[in-house]
C-alpha cells in the first residue's frame, strides 16, 4: 500500500486536486440558483472567497491607476492644451446648433409627456448617477468584466445599470465596500431588453463567446435592416427605457438556433476602451428638477422661435395677399382662412401654398385644361 502511494503520489495528488475542484464547481453551479434571491450571483462562501481575492488585488490596481492618471492629468493639463482654443470655438458652435435642435424637439417631448400622463404610462427617468473610474479588468479574455473604483460605500448595488454619454455599457455584478464589478454587455452571461427604434420590435440582447453583442430571439423580418438604432426597452428592470445601445451591424440566419436570426449590434459605447462610467443609482417617475428646468427653457425658446416666425410672416409681402386682392380664382376659396398656412391661403389639406395667378395664360397654365369628361379623342386639349 505504501509503495503504491509513493509510486503514484504525483498522479494521486493531481487527481485529488482536480476532483475537489470539480465537486466545488458542481456546488457553485447549483447554489446560485437556490440563493439567487438573497445572495446575488454567487453563494455566500464563494462571495467571501471572491471578496478576499478582489481585496488583495484592487488596492494595487488603484495605485497603478491613480499614478498613471496623475501623469496623464499633467500631460493633458499643460502639454495637451495646444488646440484648446479651436476646440472651444467648435464646441460653442455645436452648443448653438444643439440649442436650436433642443427647441425644435421640446414641443414634441412635451406632447409625448402629456400623452404618457394620459395613458398613465410609468416612465423612469434617471435621477441620480455616480461617476466611477475603471481601474482594472478580470485578466481573462473570456470574462468581460471590469473593476470600478467605487463600491457599496458610494451607494452602488448589484444589478445597477452602467452607462457612458455614448450609451449603455453593462451592469454591476458583485459590489464590495470600495470596489465593484462591471459586467460588460458583450460578456456571454450578460443580457438586456432592447427595442429597435423605428420598427419598435422588441428583443433580448446577449453577449457572445467571441465578445460580440447579438439579438438572437427574433425570427426573420424584412423590416429589420442594418443601420437601425437599438435602444433599451426598460423591460428588464435594470436599464431605464430609451437609452442608446447601438446600431444593427448585420442580420443573418443563426445556424444553431433556426428559425431565429443572429442580429449583430455595433455598440455606441466602445466597450474595450472604457475609462469613466456612470452608474445609475436612482430613477424616478417624473422628470428630475434640472431636466424639468431645461425642458421649460427649451419650451420657452420654441415659443419664442414660433412668435418670431409669425412676426416675419406678417411683415413680409406674402403670395397669399396678392391672391386675395387680385384674381379670386375659379373655386372662389381665396378668402377662406380654413386652409391657410400662417395667413397664406393654400391647397386644402396639402400644406402647400396656393399657386400665383399667371399673367399670360397658355395651354400649360394651371386650370387651362378642360375637365377630363369634356375631352374628345383627337380633339384639342386646351383652347388655342
Amino acid at each position: 500500500m505504501e509503495s503504491f502511494l509513493s509510486r503514484f503520489k504525483n498522479s494521486l495528488v493531481l487527481i485529488t486536486i482536480v476532483l475537489v475542484q470539480a465537486i466545488g464547481l458542481a456546488i457553485q453551479v447549483q447554489r446560485p440558483k437556490e440563493d439567487a434571491k438573497t445572495l446575488g450571483t454567487d453563494g455566500q462562501h464563494t462571495t467571501l472567497l471572491r471578496y478576499w481575492t478582489v481585496s488583495l488585488v484592487t488596492p494595487f490596481e488603484k495605485v497603478i491607476h491613480w499614478s498613471s492618471f496623475d501623469v496623464w492629468k499633467v500631460w493633458s493639463g499643460y502639454v495637451g492644451l495646444r488646440h484648446a482654443h479651436q476646440q472651444n470655438e467648435q464646441l460653442e458652435l455645436e452648443i448653438a446648433r444643439l440649442r436650436q435642435e433642443q427647441a425644435a424637439f421640446a414641443e414634441d417631448a412635451a406632447q409625448g409627456r402629456r400623452l404618457q400622463a394620459l395613458l398613465a404610462f410609468k416612465q423612469q427617468y434617471i435621477s441620480q448617477t455616480v461617476a466611477a473610474q475603471v481601474i482594472g479588468t478580470s485578466g481573462v479574455d473570456s470574462s468581460r468584466m471590469l473593476y470600478l473604483d467605487k463600491g457599496s460605500a458610494d451607494g452602488l448595488k448589484p444589478d445597477q445599470a452602467v452607462i457612458t454619454p455614448d450609451g449603455v455599457v453593462g451592469k454591476l455584478r458583485d459590489v464590495f465596500p470600495h470596489t465593484a464589478q462591471l459586467l460588460l454587455l458583450n460578456d456571454a452571461t450578460s443580457g438586456a431588453g432592447v427595442v429597435l427604434e423605428s420598427t419598435r420590435i422588441r428583443g433580448i440582447l446577449r453577449g457572445t463567446a467571441n465578445g460580440r453583442v447579438q439579438i438572437n430571439n427574433l425570427t426573420a423580418d424584412s423590416r429589420i435592416k442594418p443601420g437601425e438604432k437599438v435602444i433599451t426597452s426598460g423591460g428588464d428592470q435594470v436599464f431605464p427605457r430609451g437609452l442608446p445601445v447601438g446600431v444593427i451591424e448585420s442580420v443573418a440566419p443563426d445556424p444553431q438556433h433556426q428559425p431565429y436570426m443572429a442580429i449583430t449590434i455595433h455598440t455606441d459605447a466602445n466597450l474595450s476602451r472604457l475609462e469613466e462610467v456612470l452608474v445609475i443609482t436612482g430613477t424616478q417617475a417624473t422628470l428630475p428638477a434640472a431636466a424639468e428646468q431645461d425642458a421649460a427653457l427649451a419650451d420657452a425658446a420654441a415659443e419664442e422661435n414660433k412668435r418670431a416666425a409669425d412676426v416675419i410672416a406678417e411683415k413680409l409681402p406674402s403670395i397669399g395677399e396678392s391672391g386675395a386682392t387680385g384674381s379670386t380664382g375659379s373655386s372662389g376659396e381665396t378668402g377662406s382662412t380654413e386652409n391657410s398656412i400662417r395667413g397664406v391661403p393654400g391647397i386644402p389639406n396639402s400644406g402647400l401654398p396656393k399657386t400665383v395667378p399667371v399673367v399670360h395664360p397658355d395651354k400649360y397654365s394651371p386650370g387651362a385644361a378642360p375637365p377630363a369628361e369634356n375631352l374628345q379623342p383627337g380633339g384639342a386639349s386646351a383652347p388655342q
Binding site: K9, N10, V13, L14, I17, V18, Q21, A22, G24, L25, A26, Q28, V29, T41, T46, L49, R50, W52, T53, V54, L56, V57, F60, E61, I64, H65, S68, V134, I135, G136, T137, S138, G139, V140, D141, S142, S143, M145, L146, Y147, R173, Q181, L183, D187, A188, T189, T208, A209, N210, S272, R273
Partner: protein, 174 residues
C-alpha cells in the same frame, strides 16, 4: 532507497526559489494581466500567469509543486472573473503537472524547447477550458475558436522568451 548523485540529471536541473519570489511573481503576473488590458486591450490575448506557472513547473521539476502552483494561480484568477472557482484552477493545475513531468525529459534551458513548451501548453489550456465549460459547466454557448487560440499560443510562446529569461535570475540550486 534511491540516492541521487551530484551529477544526476534531476538534481542538476532542479531549482528552488526564494519564498518572496514564489509568492510575488505569480501575484505580480496576475496583477499585470488585470491592469494592462485596460490601457492596451490587445494584450488580453496573452496569459502571463500561465507562462509563470509553466516556468515554475519546469524549473522545480516537481509535479506536485507544479500542480499546486498551477491550481493556486488559476483559482486566484477565477476570483477576479465571473466564472465559478475552479475553471482556471483545474486547467492550470493540469498544465503545471504536465509541464513539471515533461521538464524531466526536455532540456528546458534551450530557447526552442521553451517556445515549443509554451505553445503546446497554451493550446492544452485552451482545450481544457473549453472542455470544462462544455462538460462540467454544461454551457452550450461556449465555442472553440481555433484560429484565436492558435494566435494566443503563438503570442504566449513569444512572450515566454523574455519572461523566462527575466525569471532565470531568481533561480537558485536546492
Amino acid at each position: 532507497m534511491a540516492e541521487h548523485s551530484y551529477t544526476s540529471r534531476q538534481e542538476m536541473d532542479q531549482y528552488a526559489f526564494h519564498t518572496a519570489v514564489t509568492l510575488l511573481v505569480p501575484l505580480g503576473s496576475i496583477l499585470l494581466q488585470a491592469v494592462l488590458p485596460k490601457t492596451f486591450p490587445v494584450l488580453a490575448i496573452f496569459d502571463l500567469p500561465l507562462i509563470v506557472v509553466i516556468f515554475f513547473a519546469v524549473a522545480r521539476r516537481n509535479p506536485v509543486a507544479g500542480t499546486v502552483t498551477g491550481t493556486l494561480v488559476g483559482v486566484f484568477q477565477d476570483g477576479l472573473t465571473n466564472h465559478p472557482f475552479g475553471v482556471n484552477g483545474i486547467a492550470k493545475g493540469i498544465v503545471g503537472y504536465a509541464a513539471a513531468s515533461i521538464g524531466f525529459a526536455v532540456d528546458v534551458e534551450n530557447i526552442i524547447n521553451r517556445i515549443a513548451l509554451n505553445f503546446i501548453f497554451s493550446l492544452l489550456q485552451s482545450g481544457l477550458l473549453y472542455l470544462i465549460a462544455r462538460l462540467l459547466l454544461g454551457d452550450p454557448t461556449v465555442k472553440l475558436m481555433p484560429l484565436h487560440e492558435l494566435l494566443r499560443a503563438v503570442c504566449n510562446a513569444a512572450l515566454s522568451v523574455p519572461v523566462f529569461y527575466a525569471l532565470d535570475r531568481f533561480k537558485s540550486r536546492e
